[in-house]
Structures are given as structure tokens and as C-alpha cells.
Subunit: 447 residues, 2 copies
């Protein structure tokens, strides 16, 4: 998300005050729509609307989606309904769908009658796709052709279709029932002899996603095949829309941020760090801190009952707990990232468990050595000192096991593996770690 | 990274045994190159080469980059040098650059003489760009035109340039010194009247990156403007290459995985979870576990010197330490993700500090309440119990402060903010937390 750039604000305000429509039009027409949004974001809502009114609604609809989402919502609410009908009609279907999902349903029902009937049907179809599905990412504007025409005719037809198409770089070849037969790139059409048939030029091995496929699948397929867009089909194989590369990139960046925040026990902010309200940020962090605090309280209660005659063991409590938490955190994160990039699947669980067993055994042994040396420095004799390495080894192994199993469980329940894995790993491993430590002390040193 | 698909292996082996070149050619020609790589990855190196030899070198060069990088390296080493010259010559410059960077420099010097001179120059230029720069991501194959020709002429020229261009969807308009004047999309060329001049059709407001710009900047710009490709210029404004959307998507996905792994104190694997060798994985986790273990050992040594008369305090040590570590981890992750998505810049450090101060004060107070109640349950009197909330509040605030400052320091030193922030936060906050706890006990309860 680009931050607002205030450099042109004074000049824009002078133009607005002087009613310099030509000047405003020049700014809004000549720059990239993303840059226009950046430069004008610092204006008041009413000023932005006066600025946008200097250009036709087609251009307004290109600039509008580049404002941050909360601002788009505020601008919608600050405008008269009549104005919005035209804007909504012209906006790219995917940007429009993103915006309408953020508005109150009553507000949407108020605007929809002002939108042309054909568009209204599209809007309702996209809004009906569940959040996070291929359908919710797609646009209904794409270029399509029948199979039996020539490359020359195809280019002539594209000339008339193009203004309505977000992407004409892939053209989808459909039968009369709109079932997808193949696709041809604009590049291939240009390079082909004008007399060759589209049906001979097209690639028949089309990779598609279904409307209800999860967005991870769209990302994985588009990234694997380096496509500019992925076609989306319904359950009868009919083309209903396309997901374009830019929306996939945005989704990947947003998911990466969300996952990193979940790994650090934060409910995803969903907006820029500097934009998020302090109360909402406190809540999104506080809820997880409180849960982690509650589990730490359990650890404290367990510890409070521990009346060991071996006072030197107390100093090693944080070390023992941290070893398990750290290795568990590592395992959870490795499995979460591997699942989200498609490097491994749920079905690989046996291999994952085997790998984690071997690696955590090696890691545990690695840490057990300095653990024993440390123990020797504080324990009354070499046998007593064994409690430290024995506990470290067990806790590291238990930590890794819990860490790799939790994301797999979440995935198998149809949940996002990053959802709560890392905080839960800490919670479980802390308590288990302290119990193992107390148990080892009891077994090796006696009560 | 797609995983190998073994389903066709038996059939392919039959074709190889029978010398069924026509059958092999059909598989290698008809499917998407990514799919061919997936289906053949399960074969031996020599079998893959025999399979690839069924198709011309142009097609081989399209399939080859879709094998996982370690396999590409193995295949290179398993082939005779003469064979490689042709393949290297035909590969897309960016895929070729990625591969050559993985090979021993001596090996590369052996192959280069077998490559045509013009390509050799390109290869050396790309190899000279530092890792992680725009230059190292770019391809030198792009479509370019002079400004003074018509749209009709332009399309005719593209027909001859196109076979060498990874992307002809944006065409760059250059002056005789190859300085970038503007760009025109293939879509605009197709829609324009054939007699209109390219100089009138082109967008003059070109957004570029420089060869030595960091890859984060390429990602940010391409994502902001929804481009299919970003032009890369040298310090005199001459076009040297383009970075295409698919490489940006790959970079974003790889960076996201690396960052998540760094946040969990793992040196980035750089390869798939299931592919990574167990020894290398143990090392990449063990190095950080060992560092964290060493800092936990410091905490243990500090604790061992603590002879408090107030035995009930011991049970709360893990809780106090964890509160600081968790809030510090949250702050570090928020700042790291905000810096990497461009949501905030180094220059925003004052706002960041102010936000973290307010939020951590609220979080600290939130946790202090249950902390006091817990303390009351175990402390001999209500005044003694105050040690817990007072420590929790201070530790949460110190944790957040350290958590947000460390990534900013790493960024200001030109390092990746995710590099070591989270592990360092834990390390620092653990020790500081225990010292604060001991200090609070001393002040409020006396020695």
C-alpha cells in the first residue's frame, strides 16, 4: 500500500479554489491512476470528489480503486447516490467486488438499482462467492472468441471487445455454451498468418480453477505456470471470469503479512501498520497476549506446587522452557510455510513426522552438551547435573513434535495452519516442559 | 515449487526403452513446459536428457527452467559440454542467470566459450549484478521500438522481434542512445489507427527501476502500478532489461517464506521443506537454537545468584519472561512486515515509537490486572503481590520497545530487518525481564 504523498496538495487546493478544471483534469488524466490517488489522498473527501469530477467517469473509475480501502468506503459514504451508480458501473468488476464487500449490505442495496441491469447481475454473482475463493478474486471482464474464425477476424473482433477487457493478452476460446475449449495469447494471434484458424492456434491444454477453489490454489497454479491470468470455470466447465496476475500478487503479499503476524501471535491487522487504530491494534495483540498469559499462569501454578530439595534447579527453568518453545516454533513455522507454498501436502504427514523426529533428535543432542556443562557448574555432582541435558533433549523433541503436528491438525480441519499454531505450541510446550523437568528431577534425583 | 508427479514415469520408461521418439516428442511438445518438468522429474538424469533430445533445443530451453534448481544443476553436470552451449544460448536470460549463479565459476567458464558472442555479453552483464538487485532479476529480452514510426509499422516490426521476447505486451520506446522515452502496450497498438505515430500513443510517464535498486523496490513498484513488467535502466537512463511479473511473484513468495523462517529463528532453508537435507536443516535451526540457548544460559546464571527470601516469586519467573518476549515478538514482527510491504519507512521511526509506547502501555495494564490477581493468590499480602503487575507492565513495555527498535536498527544499517530481530528480541528481553523482576522484588519487598 503506497502512503499518501502530500507534495501536490497546496497546488491542488489552489486549483480547486480557482475552479481551474483544466489544471485538475491534466493532473487526473496524465499520471498513472495509482499516482493520482497517492497525490490526492491528502485532500478532504469533498475535495477529492470535485477533483474527480474534472474527468469523465471512466477515468474516475480507474483512479478510485487505488485509494486505500477505508478511504474508498469513506468517499462512497460522502457522495450522493446518483453519482455512485455511474462509478460502480465503470469500475473493474474485481475492484468493485472488493469495495462492495466492505460496505453495509443496506448501503449496497441502495446503490444497486442505479447500476445497469447487466452489471447488476455480475455484481450479485461475484458477491455470492465466498470470501477467499477463486470467485471472490476474479473479474468478469475478459476477452473471448469462438473457435472457427481466423486470426485476422479475431484481431478485428478484439478491437471492439478490448475497451471492456481488463486483460486482452489471453483470449479464451468458447463453444456456444461458453464452455472453455482453449486459449490463445495475443502474441500468438499477432504472429500468426491472418488466415490461420483460431482453433489451430489455440492451446487446448488449459489450466483452470473452479469458482469455489481456495485462493491458495489460484496462487499456486498461476505461479507454477507463469500466467498473466487464470481462467475460472463453474461446475459445468463454463468460463465465468479470470483472476489476473496483479490481484494474485496483492493476495500473496497480504497473505504473507497475515501469516507472519499470526506466527508472532497477532490477529492479522488487515491494514497498514501506521493506519491501524491504536485500540484495534491493542485488541488484536491483547487477545493473544491474554491467552498466552493464561497458559503461563498455568505454568506458574504448577511451579508453585513444586517443593524440590534441589534449589539449584530453579535457575534453569526459563532455559528448559525456552528450548522447547524455540524448537517447537521452528517446526510449526517450517510446516506452515511448506503447506502454504505447496512444498508439502497434508498427505506427507508421515514424512514430516519422520523428518522432525530425526532433526529434533540431533538438535536435542546438540543442546544437551552445553546443557550438561552448565549443569556441572551448578549441580552438587555429575549425576545430578544429568537432569539438565536429559530434560533439554526431551523438551526439544516434544516441542518439535507438537510444533509440526498442530499446523497439520489445523489444515486437516480445513482451517488456516497459521491460524493459532505458534501461540498454541508455546502454550502447550511451556506446561509440558515444566512437567518433564519436574519428572526428570524426581526420577534422577528423587523427591 | 510443484512436486514431482510420478504418474507417467512407467509409460515414459517404456517409450525410452523402445526408442519411441515420436511418443516422447508428443509429451514434451503438447503439455505446458511446467507440466512436462513435473511429469519427468522422477526419471534419472540420463533419461531426462534422452527425453529432452526428442524435441528441438528451443523447446528444451523452455522446459529446463521448470525443474527445481538443485536438479537443474545436477542435469548440467551430467551432460556433455557441447550439449549445454545450445541450451544456455536458448534459455530465457533471467532463468539462465539464476542457474549460472548456482554453478561453480570454473564450470561456467568452461561452458561460456560454447555460447554465441552476443549472448555471452548478456550473460556476463547479468552475472555482474549483485544478488538481490533489480539487475539480478531482469531479463535482457524485451520488445523495443523507435518513436517516429506508425502503429502499423510497429506491429510489423514486432512480428519479427517477438520470437525473441519474453514479453511483448509492453513495448519500450527508445531514442538512438537506447534511452527510455516512453512505453506503449500491445493492447494500445492493436486498438490504435494503423497510421497514428508511436510517439503520440506512448505513455511518457514511465516508472522505472535502476539496475542496483534492491529487489523490494521492484516488487513494491510493480505491485503498486499493476504492471506486467518493470523496465530497468542504467545510471544514464538507458534501458538494459525488464523484470517480468512472474519473477516478481516468485520473489515475493520466496521472501515471504524466508521472512517467516527468520521470525521463527531459522536461517532460511532456500529450498522446499521436504527437499532440504536433514543435516543442512539441523544446522540452519541449530545455529539459532544454540545462540538462544547461550542467552538463556546467561539468564540462568543471573537467576542462580538470586537468593530471595520470597520463595513464592520463583513460580512466576517463566510468566514474567514470556510476557516480555511475546510482546517484543509482536512488535518486531509488525515493524518487519510494515517495512517489507512499504507500509512504513525508516523515517517513520518517531511515529512507530510513539505508537508502540501507547499500545504497550495499554497491553501492559491489561495484563497487570490478572497478574495482580494471580499474585494475590500466592503472595503473603496485597503489597507483596504488587511485584507481579509492576514487573509485567514494565517488561511488556520494554519488550515492545526493544522489538520495534531492533528491526529499525537493522534496516538503518542496510541489513534485512527480519535478519535477526526476533531471536535477538527474545534474547535481550529474557535477561532484561529477569533483572527487572529481581529489581522490583528488591524495591518493593526489600532484600
Amino acid at each position: 500500500m503506497p502512503t499518501a504523498n502530500p507534495i501536490l496538495i497546496p497546488e491542488l487546493r489552489v486549483m480547486l479554489a480557482e475552479g481551474d478544471t483544466a489544471g485538475l483534469r491534466e493532473v487526473a488524466e496524465e499520471l498513472h491512476p495509482a499516482t493520482v490517488a497517492e497525490f490526492t489522498e491528502g485532500l478532504e473527501d469533498a475535495e477529492i470528489w470535485r477533483m474527480l469530477d474534472a474527468v469523465p467517469v471512466e477515468r474516475q473509475s480507474e483512479i478510485f480503486p487505488y485509494y486505500p480501502m477505508p478511504r474508498q468506503v469513506a468517499l462512497m459514504k460522502a457522495s450522493d447516490r446518483q453519482h455512485l451508480g455511474g462509478l460502480i458501473e465503470w469500475m473493474a468488476p474485481d475492484s468493485r467486488d472488493d469495495l462492495l464487500r466492505e460496505l453495509d449490505p443496506e448501503f449496497v442495496e441502495e446503490i444497486l438499482p442505479l447500476v445497469a441491469k447487466a452489471e447488476r447481475h455480475d455484481i450479485r454473482m461475484l458477491l455470492s462467492c465466498p470470501e477467499g475463493s477463486a470467485g471472490s478474486m476474479m473479474t468478469t471482464e475478459y476477452a473471448s472468441l469462438p473457435a472457427e474464425i481466423t486470426a485476422g477476424e479475431a484481431i478485428a473482433r478484439l478491437r471492439s471487445q478490448a475497451p471492456n477487457s481488463e486483460s486482452i493478452y489471453y483470449i479464451y476460446v468458447l463453444d456456444p455454451e461458453r464452455r472453455l475449449l482453449g486459449f490463445v495469447s495475443l502474441r500468438d494471434l499477432i504472429l500468426a498468418k491472418p488466415t490461420s484458424l483460431v482453433s489451430d492456434l489455440m492451446q487446448k491444454d488449459v489450466i483452470t480453477v473452479r469458482m469455489d477453489d481456495p485462493r491458495e490454489r489460484v496462487v499456486e497454479q498461476l505461479a507454477r505456470f507463469d500466467f498473466i491470468a487464470m481462467p475460472v470455470v463453474d461446475d459445468r466447465g463454463r468460463l465465468v471470469g479470470i483472476v489476473t496476475h496483479d490481484d494474485v500478487l496483492d493476495a500473496v503479499r497480504q497473505d504473507a503479512t497475515d501469516d507472519a503476524q499470526r506466527i508472532a501471535a497477532i490477529a492479522p491487522l488487515g491494514e497498514g501498520y501506521l493506519e491501524a487504530a491504536l485500540v484495534s491494534m491493542t485488541w488484536k495483540r491483547g487477545i493473544w497476549l491474554a491467552i498466552l498469559f493464561a497458559t503461563a499462569a498455568v505454568t506458574a501454578m504448577v511451579l508453585a506446587r513444586w517443593k524440590s530439595p534441589h534449589a539449584w534447579l530453579v535457575a534453569f527453568i526459563p532455559l528448559v522452557i525456552a528450548s522447547g518453545g524455540n524448537s517447537g516454533n521452528q517446526s510449526a513455522t517450517l510446516v506452515i510455510t511448506a503447506l502454504s507454498t505447496g512444498d508439502c501436502k497434508l498427505a506427507d504427514w508421515k514424512r514430516i513426522l519422520r523428518r522432525e523426529f530425526v532433526v529434533s533428535l540431533m538438535l536435542g543432542l546438540l543442546l544437551a552438551i552445553p546443557g550438561y556443562l552448565l549443569g556441572l557448574a551448578y549441580a552438587p555432582d555429575p549425576v545430578h547435573a544429568l537432569v539438565i541435558p536429559a530434560t533439554v533433549l526431551s523438551v526439544v523433541m516434544v516441542g518439535s513434535l507438537v510444533g509440526c503436528v498442530l499446523p497439520l491438525i489445523f489444515r486437516s480441519l480445513g482451517l488456516d495452519p497459521a491460524l493459532m499454531s505458534n501461540p498454541f505450541v508455546s502454550a502447550i510446550v511451556d506446561v509440558v516442559g515444566i512437567v518433564i523437568y519436574m519428572g526428570m528431577a524426581l526420577v534422577l534425583l528423587g523427591g
